[in-house]
């Protein structure tokens, strides 16, 4: 086994690039939030020039973010997702990227404030709470399943995040005070339902593969494919919540607001699984690097 030489200077540059992206995203967030309130005041449904500027800033931030993630990988000589910091920066890059791609096909501008706000939150906490130096992989992580298992987990989380933003708006929109001006800028409940479903079902399929890939890897690395480890339990609970969500969307009386609540609970559980379970629960799946 030869030791690969890490590049801490490049990792520092990567960190600065990601912080640069964070700055641009933050400006975009402020602009997008401002444009949303302005439109809400007028009850205007069409997108404004200000909003477009916000979106362009997201694109610029995403480009910088990409270089940041890439350089982190080059500095570490491997995929940039082997600890919580890397999972967060790659995950937030993917969320923004998927969102921007989806914008080309669907009218999703109305959640831009949510997406950018969330991404700012993720990068902010990654940089302050989860930051770790580039490191060589511990023996348990030296396997090609790292590439498959974690990249699929990142994609799943990204789709669920957008699905959750849509579900949250759906809940607001179908709640009391429907007539509030702010809510008028959002599309109809039926449309929100459909969009949210589309993101969540893709998330669900990817999540299922995360779980199965994890089990296959666990059979190699932990000498059993399933053992009710805390991470396994929570990943399974989340899977069940989303299965219930999908079931609800096709069940009369459960579609719409109730199903949306399930999607939101599911996403909260994902955040819980990534933060609290990783940092405070004991188990085999301790790859935060902290």
């Amino acid at each position: 086994m030869t030791v690969t030489e890490l590049n801490p200077e490049l990792a520092t540059i990567s960190r600065l690039l990601v912080l640069g992206a964070l700055t641009i995203y933050s400006i975009a967030f402020i602009i997008l939030a401002w444009s949303l309130t302005k439109r809400a005041a007028k009850g205007d449904k069409t997108s404004s020039k200000l909003e477009n500027i916000g979106i362009y800033l997201l694109v610029a931030g995403n480009l910088l973010h990409f270089v940041g993630v890439l350089t982190r990988g080059i500095a570490a000589h491997r995929v940039p997702w082997a600890n919580m910091y890397e999972f967060s920066i790659t995950g937030s890059f993917i969320v923004t990227f998927i969102y921007l791609v989806a914008l080309r096909f669907k009218d999703l501008k109305f959640i831009s404030t949510f997406v950018s706000g969330f991404v700012v939150l993720i990068i902010g906490s990654a940089n302050t709470l989860f930051y770790v130096q580039v490191d060589t992989l511990m023996p348990a992580l030296q396997d090609y399943w790292l590439v498959i298992h974690v990249s699929v987990a990142i994609l799943a989380t990204a789709f669920f995040m957008i699905g959750a933003a849509l579900a949250a708006i759906l809940i607001l929109k179908s709640g009391k005070g429907k007539e509030r001006k702010l809510l008028k800028v959002f599309p109809e409940v039926e449309k929100l339902e459909k969009l949210s479903y589309q993101f969540n079902i893709i998330g669900f399929i990817l999540w299922s593969f995360t779980l199965i890939a994890g089990a296959i890897w666990a059979d190699k690395a932990w000498h059993r494919f399933w053992g009710w480890d805390t991470k396994e339990v929570w990943t399974f609970i989340i899977w069940t919540i989303y299965a219930a969500y999908l079931h609800a969307t096709t069940t009369k009386g459960w579609e719409g607001k109730r199903a949306a609540w399930l999607a939101l609970i599911g996403f909260t559980a994902i955040i819980f699984n990534f933060t609290i379970v990783n940092l405070y629960f004991k188990g085999l799946h301790v790859y935060s690097g902290l």
């Binding site: 086994m1 060589t136 030296q142 399929i205 000498h223």
Partner: protein, 380 residues
């Protein structure tokens, strides 16, 4: 949950041929009578439903059966030692309900060497272990093979997978009584307590003229904490030290007391070195020999070996669990995304009725009924 859609069209025409065509191009199954067309779509949903439930049952059965037919056992091997795959060869073995331990594949496995690689190249990562490799020789029906076992690379043998689950140091010691008779000899497995492999081990000497036991700390690279306590500052044996507390008294091995090799029950014993005994803990480096207190004799720290903890398991149903898990997933998705709907087009004198029923929420049902009614109405 049934959501009917219904449209009644006042017309003398019916355009049944066109409606039939519509069903055909959209892959519906149809039953056509004199004055009615019944069309159905989404059988795959029902199939999905059936397969889903069968697969779920499959997962449960293969997990259950796997549990009964599998076994898993542990064995700690010091470099140079061999393991024979039978019940006696294990430190602990938990066979499933239906697993006959006599059916264990007769192979043996010798740990030739255990190699660790630490990162000395990257300052930020200094001394982190980056590789553990157990070099072994297996002997299966007289056929010898060399192999390596790593953390993510278990050794596959017939009906047995050998995993590397842990490792540590085994100081090799020789103890002689005051008449220079050897009363203990061999490597002793010390359990690691931290990342720098500060390790804890127990040596029991039942064959000495006065029975005694040693509870010892091993530091691969010894250093001192601010409190003065010793600690290991590095996992590699650059400045190894063994620090021993000695206890004299009945070990009680014959009564099953002190059966655990990693634990010393000092209840009926008296401490003669270390702790509050008044004599300092006895320290020895590799290659050195020290005298033990109370004329117990001498201890030679002959050398240092590595040990590997191995898990040997086998579950014949593993692949089936995976197959059924995948088919559960695929069928669930089929079930969720494929709509199942039935459509009727019925003619009576003066009007045509189009009705549709979905088994679940079906967004496009109303649209389809409308579309068909347009076809019915169309003047050709």
């Amino acid at each position: 949950s049934r959501l009917p859609e219904y449209i009644k069209i006042e017309t003398e025409k019916d355009n049944f041929k066109k409606v039939e065509e519509f069903f055909k191009t959209n892959k519906y199954r149809t039953v056509i009578t004199q004055d009615e067309i019944r069309a159905e779509k989404g059988y795959l949903r029902e199939t999905g439903n059936l397969v889903f439930h069968l697969s779920l049952l499959g997962v449960l059965i293969s997990v259950g059966l796997g549990g009964a037919l599998s076994y898993s056992g542990q064995r700690v091997l010091v470099e140079g030692e061999s393991f024979v795959n039978n019940e006696a060869g294990y430190d602990s073995l938990s066979p499933g309900l239906l697993f006959d331990t006599k059916s264990l594949t007769p192979f043996s496995l010798k740990l030739n060497s255990f190699i660790t690689t630490y990162d000395y190249l990257n300052p930020t990562n200094y001394a982190k272990p980056i590789d553990f490799t157990a070099k072994v020789t297996t002997n299966l029906n007289g056929k010898k093979d060399d192999a390596v076992i790593k953390v993510n690379n278990p050794l596959m043998l017939p009906n047995a997978k050998v995993y590397l689950t842990g490792n540590g140091y085994a100081p090799d010691v020789v103890i002689k009584d005051k008449d220079k008779n050897i009363v203990f000899s061999g490597p002793v497995v010390f359990l690691p307590q931290d990342g720098n492999l500060t390790s804890l081990g127990v040596i029991k000497v039942p064959d000495a003229p006065t029975q005694f036991g040693i509870m010892a700390f091993f530091y691969p690279t010894v250093g001192q904490l601010e409190t003065g306590a010793l600690t290991s500052t590095h996992p590699y044996p650059w400045n190894a030290l063994l620090s021993m507390n000695v206890f004299v008294g009945k070990l009680g091995l014959e009564n099953g007391l002190n059966a655990n090799v990693f634990d010393l029950n000092t209840h009926a014993m008296k401490q003669v070195a270390g702790g509050k005994s008044g004599i300092k803990a006895i320290q020895v480096k590799p290659g050195e020999t020290v005298a033990l207190p109370k004329e117990l004799g001498t201890l030679e720290f002959r050398g240092l070996k590595r040990f590997a903890s191995l898990d040997i398991t086998y579950n014949p149903m593993e692949l089936w669990v995976l197959v059924f898990a995948l088919s559960t997933l695929f069928s669930l998705i089929l079930m969720l995304i494929i709509p199942r709907r039935r459509i009727w087009v019925k003619k009576s004198s003066g009007f045509v009725e189009v009705a549709a029923l979905a088994k679940s929420r079906d967004e496009s049902l109303g649209k389809i009924v409308k579309e068909i009614s347009e076809i019915v109405k169309k003047k050709s």
